[in-house]
């Protein structure tokens, strides 16, 4: 047996960061193993089980014995069902041929960057934002260009920002609405303006609509109401409650579908057939009723959490109206949000995510609360935080 060598590693790895929150989650588990009680508001995952009609469809799929590789863009039945959803939910016509069913929205993001980016191509995106987005760009040898955004634009890009940061290598612009970590929704007029700028400058607009369905003010508007030349990323994980099943989808320009199919066949063959068969039930009236009840629960959790966080000294300048996150300015309480998160975990037994996981812009002044938890749990977390903050002052 030869001694293990450390192989030389790919250059991309130096620019791909781990989730800092993993340190916190690991520490939280260690504390729990020691008998400590931890209130976790870290992971973007509700603790509801998957709605029963979906779960039972998954059981039937397994018991049928018919669990196979599927076509690279997903089963015809599910692509058709998703296309119909755009009609009933948004009143917009999307042919099934433009829908690609993917192994999670992660798969959709990988495909989107994989078909759009040549080495060195740049993608403009909001800072703060979902950290994986810039890593998908980097993994495909593109260059993410984070643009600092703040409360003045509801933490979203604007047409003016896009135009100002456009460069000779800019290939695409990525938006997320509702946004992780800020829970804010982009104004539909601004979205139209951004689309116009991107089109005029010869780029491609990518919109993460993963948290669609989980909005608490007005109805969801999809960029597909505006245009066919865009990429939309969506997921069965959040509104449809299927995180651990790993299923998502994308809508793409018609002409690109064969390229995505080709790349997808090669890079992952297909998404889980069980998840695809189960997801056919995700749009049924019975399942939608469950999803809507949960949306109301999330709204109540948000309504409970936001004012109380403000009372504790967190600043929340823009009301989060979507997803299940509060991105809170903690600068009145600390000038080092990462150290603050570590300390809050140790001292108060509350786990929250540091701003550094979502970018660099004012990251040390922000923390993210993930709130899809029973209100009793949120109340306990807030009580602990309050004791902790009092003990420091």
């Amino acid at each position: 047996m030869s001694p293990p060598l450390t192989p030389q590693l790919a250059s991309r790895l130096a620019e791909i960061e781990p989730f800092h929150v993993v340190v916190l989650v690991t520490r939280a588990k260690a504390l729990e193993a020691q008998g400590r009680s931890i209130v976790s508001m870290v992971i973007g995952e509700p603790d509801f089980p998957t709605a029963e009609p979906i779960a039972e469809a998954g059981v039937r799929a397994i018991r049928s014995g018919n669990v196979r590789y599927t076509p690279g863009l997903g089963t015809g039945a599910l692509r058709e069902r998703i296309a119909q959803w755009y009609g009933t939910r948004y009143g917009v016509e999307v042919p099934a041929s433009r829908v690609g069913v993917m192994p999670g929205s992660s798969g959709a993001l990988l495909m989107t960057m994989g078909v759009l980016l040549s080495p060195g191509d740049e993608v403009l995106l909001a800072d703060p934002g979902y950290p994986c987005n810039r890593h998908f760009v980097r993994a495909m040898e593109g260059r993410p260009v984070p643009i600092p955004v703040g409360p003045e634009s509801a933490y979203q890009l604007t047409a003016a920002l896009v135009e100002r940061h456009w460069g000779p290598r800019t290939r695409a612009v990525m938006l997320a609405s509702p946004s992780n970590p800020t829970g804010t929704v982009i104004d539909f007029g601004e979205l139209a303006a951004i689309h116009e700028v991107v089109r005029r400058l010869g780029g491609t607009l990518i919109v993460d609509e993963i948290y669609h369905g989980l909005t608490y003010a007005g109805r969801d508007r999809t960029v597909l109401e505006l245009a066919d030349d865009v990429f939309v990323i969506n997921s069965f994980s959040k509104y449809f409650g299927m995180t651990g099943w790993r299923l998502g989808w994308m809508v793409m320009p018609e002409a690109v579908a064969p390229e995505v199919e080709k790349l997808g066949q090669n890079l992952f063959i297909s998404a889980s057939d069980i998840a695809q068969q189960a997801a056919l039930e995700a749009f049924s009236p019975e399942a939608l009723q469950v999803h809507e009840q949960r949306r109301e629960a999330f709204r109540a959790q948000r309504d409970f959490l936001v004012p109380r966080l403000r009372e504790l000294g967190f600043r929340i300048p823009v009301e989060p109206t979507g997803a299940f996150y509060v991105y809170a300015d903690c600068s009145a309480l600390t000038d080092d949000s990462y150290g603050f998160c570590l300390d809050v975990l140790e001292q108060a037994g509350v786990a929250i995510a540091p701003g550094i996981d979502f970018g660099e812009h004012l990251a040390s002044r922000h923390v993210r609360f993930s709130y899809p938890k029973p209100i009793s749990v949120l109340a306990e977390g807030l009580a602990r935080l309050e004791r902790y903050l009092r003990s420091r002052s």
Copy 2:
């Protein structure tokens, strides 16, 4: 609504080919829709259902309601179970910390290339071989270097070939044993020699062991018996019969595991939790009994098919002793294997894969038969082929 534009596409796409067999599969479905009977020996997928102990564990996972994101390298329980398997099956000690559970072996291949390759790095691999391998390299901006191999080396690379093709940018060598499409197993002494050459030249050895378990001559030997500084790719799809669940794994050098975890968290979050919970049963005595019965069925199918193909005029110079494929030289019957496959489908109603899907070396002289089918089906396919070949002469 603006008219759809075709976005400018990534440079990598020009070097990633679709599966040519998709044309055949699509045509086969069209013929079936017209009422034609088609004997399909195309897809690398047995038509057995997943073994019941695994399926029922999947059902329990779903009904528990506990289906979540898992850690990026998989659940601790499954990583531990896979590590044990190396002990019981191969007598080799592999710590669970070196095991990464992935969304299919596809995910494992993407991670391997993602952590090893910087742009322009070269990977040596056998031609013919699994086409996705070179596309994973290309997707990560590496350069696949196909090395022509033939019957003289059982369609496998040798230490001499590796040394001869090594260049200044060579970063890794990829082997597959048993091989898709040839069904051949690499000689263990040659494997050791290749490992020595790769180590001496400062590269990394990657071994696809996806078809381990499905071997019909002697016991499986893993490269992990030889070394710790290698990457091994494996799958729950083939021997364990879980294609549509999309689950695989990799074994990697200890020092690389945090890098794979980081990249995996970002690029796919985690593999399906349902599949991971179900796969805990894949190694149970009950499931292994099913897997072994199926291996015997595949062996009988191979024993039935190979001599009859030879009688029909196909040359099979190296007995396939693994996987469920026969890579047959059809040059006595045609000088255009792709046209031959199209014609065989139209005229005889038999679907087989053309050599072009597996590389360039003598591709027009070869076809691949995928044989995990009941012998009655194989017999019908052979009878049709025989009538077709007679009608041409």
